[in-house]
Symmetry: C2
Subunit: 303 residues, 2 copies
């Protein structure tokens, strides 16, 4: 086997790893979501519809990759990855509603309020948030209960008004307003960054303080890069590739990295953030290879 083949093999390894983890999180979410045979049937059916739709599961992958670096127990990583994906799914359901982004498509399928109705979508989001905290509060998840409380605290802070919900509120207030790059960055750090950071930190929960902080820096940069890439894709891709309505953000006059920086500069910015993320991993050498591949997976789509 020549040296030249190595990168390809490494890539194949990552693909296999990601696919295995994606299949794993799908099974675990399926297991934890209440059966649609159980009353209230419509709510449970809509919860399952909104969560079990595949997707890249970037947050779960981050959580698993961080857990491998920090040797966090599988059971803990599974619960953390599920909880984060449930919070993410709830935010998409609420975000798609007519009073928010009013988006009819989500991953190529009707969004929850289109498939069911607005009231059901509201309750689906509410119940998915509760379920995330229920999963993390299951008895004896962690050998040390205080570790489990830290995890619950990290998730609650990342979800609330100083995290994801706060970012959504800033996003709402920003429609039609000129934002600076710093303001846009703050908005995204809350709106998507906080939960992405939480995913990595929860995966790293059994690691040293140094590891947890490095994971946070890595995730903050990769989270922002993910958002810049999203803005680039919103301009460059079409709806069928994207699995949601393309050009939506630009059409609704929302500030984006592309509208502020232009397409080329936005691509450069994504690259810089990617490099910052990689830098944060340098203390860990080869052990962080999966996280490097994941950074690549998240950002190389567009630069």
């Amino acid at each position: 086997m020549s040296d030249l083949e190595l990168p390809n093999n490494a890539l194949q390894d990552f693909s296999a790893w990601a696919q295995a983890k994606q299949a794993r999180i799908e099974l675990i979410l399926d297991h934890h979501l209440p059966s649609a045979d159980l009353a209230p049937h419509n709510l449970h059916s809509a919860m399952r519809y909104s969560v079990l739709c595949g997707g890249k599961r970037v947050r779960a992958l981050l959580c698993y990759a961080a857990s491998e670096l920090c040797e966090t127990d599988f059971k803990i990583a599974d619960a953390a990855a599920s909880a984060v994906e449930l919070i993410h799914a709830y935010s998409l359901v609420h975000d798609d509603m007519p009073c928010m982004d009013d988006d009819d498509l989500r991953r190529g399928k009707p969004s929850c309020h289109k498939q069911y109705d607005d009231a059901t979508a509201l309750l689906v989001g509410d119940a998915l948030q509760s379920l995330a905290f229920e999963l993390l509060s299951q008895t004896s998840l962690c050998a040390e209960a205080s570790q489990q409380i830290s995890m619950l605290s990290i998730l609650a802070k990342a979800s609330g008004s100083a995290g994801m919900a706060g970012g959504q509120a800033i996003d709402l207030a920003a429609v039609g307003k000129p934002l600076t790059q710093t303001e846009l960055e703050t908005m995204h750090q809350l709106k998507t960054g906080a939960l992405i950071q939480a995913a990595a930190m929860l995966g790293a929960i059994s690691g040293s303080q140094e590891q947890i902080i490095a994971m946070q820096t890595y995730a903050m940069n990769i989270g922002l890069a993910f958002q810049v890439v999203d803005d680039i894709l919103d301009v460059e891709a079409d709806s069928s590739t994207l699995g949601k309505t393309a050009g939506k953000d630009a059409n609704s006059n929302k500030p984006t990295y592309v509208s502020i920086l232009g397409l080329d500069q936005a691509k450069n910015h994504a690259k810089q953030l990617y490099e910052n993320a990689i830098m944060a991993l340098s203390p860990f050498g080869n052990k962080a290879q999966r996280l490097r591949e994941l950074a690549d997976f998240i950002t190389r789509r567009s630069f």
Copy 2:
């Protein structure tokens, strides 16, 4: 002092106790809610508007009364009472939204989506739910971390699709359909009963297993009685007394205890539930006096 004066004094004592606890929970909620000076200002202002509106704080009172019976630490009772009131407040904000009950008034003031807008109301509810779990996951709340995890689990289950959100979904599906009394009871046990039970169980968290189960039975009955009373008031009171739009449930063709049982039978049923609740307290003698008074406070408004 004659024997005849005792009941009045006891009543006065309860009033003073309830007022002190209502003032206490208001201060604690005010302390925990993010300042409106903090970004995102509009979201934080709307969160405060939706929570700090006085009200009877029945759930907090239940939590405090149970905590006194079971000698649960003040700090734990404060956190539990706040968390339950935050979940309750979020459910009211979402419940009032146009896609749900579409109610313009809440405690005599414009409901959150009328005072702000639908998108803000959606985020207010979402962020209040996160804040409830954040409060219960604060470091070292309980001497034993496993007790704190039990509390988080109780709150998460009571809020989710097998609790409050599930009850809302059953309620939605029931509009315009004839329900039996049992079906109506199941709906209310989830919609309002689950959180009321959680309030009492969280207050009782330091008690014996016997005490916690008795609190659950007491709270289940008083929770249902509360709902029957609500249905009676919806028919008998006017909007200004009620602080919300009167006759709303009847007008929107929702099944109520009054529509199923008639007014007199509904009153009898409230009384029966009240007596069941009192019976559950019998093992505790005088120590449960506050909980008896609270049962009286909750239900005597209408029978």
